[in-house]
């Protein structure tokens, strides 16, 4: 790590800690911002770096949410009775029950999503390019529809999550801390991952999968591994998000494939896909824009977001980091062959 990087991490850590202390009214929004950061940067593992543009990573988000909800409730109560009452019965969870259930739920969500990613990966990684995107989108939408048909987990009506047992003031701060920790953990996981051989193999798969395979790289294994890491963090953050919102519903909250499933791609593209900091930057920017439009353009916010998505993709594909890289390649350690540039300009 260079001095500049340490400085950058210090700035982020300080602002991450001081943010909710200075602006306590916006704690929940800032927590959601870290959720978005995790979404965008885990999408980038397969999407940006590996060239497998998944539109269905939101599946793990929703599955994690439901797994943790089921575990949190069924550890102490009968889940089918709980959901059948549509929130009329509010069983009291003691402090210990709540926190044990929450952490067991988050962990189980992550692990079960890894298993799900392994199983799904066997099916979807035989697809390439647009078929992969459509297939994963189909998985996400099917997951939402199927979750709506299962009565044990509340069906279309959804589940309301257990109440936070402590003082309500502490609630958003508590979830902020979890989201921030998970975001930091995911960032350093990805950073470590792409400093190992995995990064090289992933980029080789992106550039030419057939050649990579011919070179003896076990591409299937690398793809599964990358998707598994993304699935783990998406599952964990889904579990946290479900508890933060307090109410789970299959189509809008758990599996919002046409909105957040695409926004995570848009965030990564806005910041610059295939870079470490691009998705983080894109997620923060996107969230700020989203919250601003929510406040000032109420009713038109989705239209504004769709418009931003189109403009971003059609006119600004390389993203902020990509643009910076082409503008100042020396700063990123990319050596440009001047004779090559001249040859291109002449042609």
């Amino acid at each position: 790590m260079t001095r500049n990087q340490i400085l950058l991490y210090l700035v982020i850590a300080v602002s991450g800690v001081l943010g909710p202390i200075m602006f306590p009214n916006y704690t929940q929004q800032m927590a959601v911002m870290w959720v978005m950061v995790i979404m965008a940067s885990t999408w980038d593992i397969t999407g940006g770096q590996m060239g497998y543009n998944s539109l269905g990573n939101i599946t793990f988000f929703g599955v994690g949410m439901y797994v943790s909800a089921v575990i949190q409730v069924s550890m102490f109560y009968d889940i089918s009775l709980y959901t059948a009452s549509y929130g009329a019965i509010k069983p009291v969870f003691t402090d210990q029950q709540y926190f044990v259930g929450l952490f067991a739920g988050i962990l189980a969500a992550g692990v079960s999503c890894v298993i799900l990613a392994r199983l799904l990966g066997m099916v979807v990684f035989g697809l390439r390019g647009p078929y992969f995107a459509i297939g994963t989108l189909g998985v996400a939408i099917a997951a939402g529809q199927i979750a709506g048909t299962m009565d044990t987990i509340g069906g279309g009506a959804g589940i309301s999550m257990p109440f936070f047992p402590w003082d309500i003031q502490l609630r958003s701060a508590f979830f902020y801390i979890i989201c921030f920790t998970l975001a930091v953990a995911s960032h350093f996981t990805i950073r470590w991952l792409f400093s190992t051989q995995f990064g090289l193999a992933a980029n080789a798969i992106r550039d030419d999968e057939d050649k990579a395979e011919a070179m003896g790289i076990p591409t299937q294994k690398y793809k599964q591994f990358g998707w598994g890491i993304a699935a783990f963090y998406m599952g964990c953050i889904g579990a946290v998000f479900g508890n933060m919102v307090g109410y789970i519903e299959p189509v809008e909250v758990a599996f919002p494939a046409p909105t957040f499933g695409i926004f995570m791609v848009a965030m990564a593209l806005l910041g610059g896909k295939g870079t470490l900091w691009g998705p983080v930057l894109g997620a923060v920017l996107f969230h700020v824009v989203k919250e601003t439009t929510w406040t000032y353009l109420l009713g038109w916010q989705w239209v504004a977001l769709g418009f931003i998505l189109i403009v971003n993709i059609v006119y600004f594909q390389q993203g902020i980091m990509g643009w910076l890289q082409t503008k100042y390649p020396e700063k990123f350690g990319i050596i440009v062959d001047q004779s090559n540039v001249q040859a291109k300009e002449e042609a």
């Binding site: 543009n53 539109l55 099916v123 035989g126 697809l127 390439r128 390019g129 647009p130 078929y131 995107a133 459509i134 297939g135 989108l137 189909g138 998985v139 939408i141 099917a142 529809q145 199927i146 709506g148 048909t149 279309g156 046409p258 909105t259 695409i262 791609v265 848009a266 593209l269 009713g299 038109w300 989705w302 239209v303 977001l305 769709g306 418009f307 998505l309 189109i310 971003n312 993709i313 059609v314 006119y315 594909q317």
Partner: protein
């Protein structure tokens, strides 16, 4: 579920007639939309995610005209014209800029467009389910077990008429020939003096017009809702992926199969499975294609 199966095959097998007919009625509409998608996909290699939203948009235009007092059948040419112009505008503004990029870019750009269209329609018409009452009689058959609204037969006839017109247009006219030439090899077509940019624009607009007309049929025989667009998109993708590009009989027969699958899934497993069935069918098709390709050591691309 078993009760429903028993009802279908033991107590009232006549219900099957109803379901098969309904499957044909919806399948005809699917076939129109899927043909449009196959056209755009084959000619310009754009995966048009906003296909379903164009259908819903056409339906809403007809709905507006209906409120102004125009019968939906007479609204068809107006909707086709409006959607044609709309498609041309979209092509110039968005599609032309993403057409040379890799396919994921066009996929995402049309997805953004789909989001935009959905939300604008939601703002204008609200999230309520709407339908157009076209005042056709309803025919009853087999002791009232089978009901056939005449409007569905009319829509089937219209769909067949339109499909035939499009097919003849593609086969016979000068423009159709140019479109087919561009689909075969865009570069060679350009060398031979075809303005491919114009051809692409025309193809995309033609697709939009077809979708618009299909939307009018949907608004007559079914319901409109701003958020249903994505479901139509997935259905058409399932059909086109299963049938393959440029395979017109395949597209038509797959559309009917999808219509039947949805009808039977809705009755046997419950109405909430009707949408899931089409999505699961898309996944099944992709898996089946994969198994097929793996036998030749290939992947689906």
């Amino acid at each position: 579920m078993l009760d429903n199966l028993q009802l279908l095959f033991v107590y009232a097998p006549i219900m099957n007639v109803q379901m098969i007919l309904d499957g044909i009625f919806v399948g005809a509409v699917f076939a129109l939309i899927a043909y449009g998608l196959a056209l755009v996909w084959g000619v310009m290699n754009v995966k048009n995610i906003c296909q379903g939203d164009m259908v819903i948009m056409g339906g809403y235009i007809a709905f507006t005209l209906y409120q102004l007092g125009v019968h939906p059948i007479f609204a068809i040419p107006i909707v086709a014209a409006v959607m044609f112009i709309y498609g041309w505008i979209i092509y110039v503004m968005i599609i032309r800029r993403v057409i040379d990029n890799d396919m994921f870019v066009s996929l995402l750009a049309t997805f953004g467009l789909s989001l935009l269209m959905t939300q604008v329609m939601n703002l204008i018409y609200g999230p309520e389910v709407q339908t157009i009452d076209s005042h056709f009689p309803i025919a009853m058959m087999f002791d009232d077990f089978v009901t056939i609204p005449m409007v569905k037969i009319v829509s089937l006839a219209l769909a067949m008429l339109l499909a035939a017109a499009v097919v003849i247009f593609m086969k016979k006219s000068r423009m159709g020939q140019a479109i087919r030439a561009t689909a075969q090899d865009a570069r060679a077509a350009r060398v031979l003096g075809i303005n491919t940019d114009n051809i692409f624009a025309f193809t995309y607009s033609l697709n939009a017009a077809i979708c618009g007309v299909a939307g009018v049929l949907v608004s007559m025989i079914w319901v409109l809702q701003p958020f249903y667009g994505i479901i139509y998109t997935l259905r058409t993708f399932a059909i086109v992926t299963a049938a393959g590009l440029g395979n017109l009989p395949g597209v038509i027969s797959m559309s009917f199969v999808l219509g039947w699958v949805e009808q039977y899934a809705g009755i046997v497993a419950g109405a909430e499975w009707q949408v899931a069935a089409s999505v699961l069918m898309l996944l099944a098709v992709l898996m089946w294609r994969q198994v097929q390709m793996r036998r030749q050591r290939q992947v689906v691309r």
